[in-house]
Amino acid sequence: MQITVDMNLCESHGQCVFAAPEIFSFDDEDYLVYEATASDDLLAKAEKAAAVCPVRAIQVHAAAGQGAA
């Protein structure tokens, strides 16, 4: 699956880091870093991360054949 984060919206709330630590983390200055491509095994966690983002900055696109997220 593909993950995109609008870094203009991101305010480093950290909810995505809590929901899917395999994908999202912070650097030392609290800027979000994330895996743009992740295993589809993590789809449910990634979708949770997108749902709990207070600024809705995260978009998740399942791999072809898995249906749109």
């Binding site: 305010e11 709330h13 880091v17 809590f18 983390s25 912070f26 030392d28 609290d30 709990v52 207070p54």
Partner: protein, 397 residues
């Protein structure tokens, strides 16, 4: 279940409605909101004085009763009474399933009738009315230095107003984050040019001579502060007035169990009723099972899935196991929190530095971690949250 009514059309109500659809509910779905607006996000109202509509799922297929206030609930007949309709036909709506998500209302001034120019802030219309008055150079008095009052004072100062902030406790944010963080925030406020008065209360709002508009604020020690406008930020109270006499258990919110099933006065869950968001009073495992209504954005979102599930699967409910979290941006410092700092009996400061804007503070109750607060150290919150995670399943029964 054929008809579900969601009372409250803000974050918790909307997300619960969406979760009901996502979990397969295909019946008639009605959302009731007392404000004449579609759902919007509350945090930007005080943090940025900005109106931010909430996304609504395109396939929600709901009936919206907007600008309609719920005024009563009859659990025997399974009806909600509404006011504000065009026709009598809508005065009562029936439900098979009910979601209570009416949130909170701003605590009102207990004393005298207020002059013009004194605002409370809870809804969108409050923010629009206040924002129109926030012009550079005017003198604003903010009463209450919790999160709302502190954020508003900071935002108004940024707009160039002369801001005075009044707080009854010894420090801002003291109850929510402890006196050390409170002292830190006090320093941020003062460095930004806000006049902060702590340990004092307001005795009176006085009108300007010959007008019905505010001219000054008198403190309990007799100090008179000239003011062009004032904001009351005295906290919020769960909006449960419409549930009085319904037979549900109330007190600091509507009481629910860990499955977000609403309890009757006899302590038994009332079939077909769940609650979500700021209005819910839940046992908090991190506070030793004490009941609290928290009023956090992230909790409202976390409640939605659980409340929907409990309503649709009464024989097999799943407990809510979310970990509370909140945030606040003050003078460029992005405070981020997990757990229940307000439940602590001990605060440990790892780092609390004004120059670097770095904060890392942990909160403990009887020696156990119950929460953490950071700024520019937010990467460390995940580990604290991990430590709290196993404990949120306690007290489920």
């Amino acid at each position: 279940m054929r008809r579900i009514v969601v009372v409250g059309a803000s974050l918790a109500g909307l997300r619960t409605a969406e979760a009901l659809r996502a979990q397969g509910f295909a019946g008639e779905l009605t959302l009731v909101g007392d404000e004449p607006h579609m759902p919007y996000d509350r945090p930007p109202l005080s943090k940025e004085l900005r109106i931010a509509p909430l996304d609504v799922a395109e396939d929600l297929d709901a009936r919206w009763l907007i600008g309609r206030r719920a005024v009563g609930l009859d659990i025997g007949r399974r009806t909600v009474a509404l006011e504000g309709g065009d026709t009598a036909a809508y005065d009562e709506i029936g439900y098979d399933g009910l979601v209570i998500a009416t949130g909170t209302a701003a605590r009102q001034w207990p004393g005298q009738p207020l002059p013009q120019g004194v605002f409370t802030l809870r809804g969108l219309d409050d923010t629009l009315a206040l924002r129109a008055e926030l012009t550079e150079g005017r003198r604003l008095v903010v009463v209450g230095a919790g999160f709302l009052g502190s954020e508003l004072a900071a935002a108004a100062r940024e707009l160039g107003l002369e801001v005075t902030l009044i707080e009854a406790a010894e420090q801002p944010l003291q109850r929510a984050a402890g006196s050390q963080v409170g002292a830190y925030v006090a320093e941020l406020h003062r460095a930004a040019g806000i006049a902060l008065h702590t340990g004092c209360t307001v005795r009176e709002f006085r009108t300007a001579p010959g007008t019905d508009r505010i001219g000054s604020v008198t403190l309990d020690d007799g100090t008179s502060l000239p003011a062009d406008l004032a904001v009351l930020a005295l906290g919020a109270e769960p909006a449960t007035g419409w549930l009085a006499g319904s037979g549900l258990r109330l007190g600091g919110g509507v009481h629910a169990d860990a499955y977000l099933r609403v309890l009757r006065a006899d302590g038994v869950p009332e079939p077909g009723i769940v609650a979500a968001g700021d209005v819910v009073n839940l046992p908090q495992p991190l506070a030793g099972g004490a009941r609290l209504a928290l009023g956090h954005w992230a909790d409202a979102v976390e409640h939605a899935g659980t409340a929907a599930y409990s309503l649709l699967n009464p024989a097999d409910p799943r407990p809510h196991q979310g970990i509370p979290s909140f945030w606040s941006d003050l003078h460029g410092v992005k405070f981020r929190s997990v757990g229940l700092p307000a439940a602590a009996d001990e605060v440990r400061v790892v780092e609390l530095d004004v120059a670097s804007r770095r904060v890392e503070v942990t909160y403990h109750f009887r020696g156990r971690l119950v929460g953490a607060l950071t700024a520019r150290r937010t990467g460390r919150l995940a580990a604290y949250r991990q430590e709290l995670a196993p404990r949120v399943g306690e007290f489920v029964n």
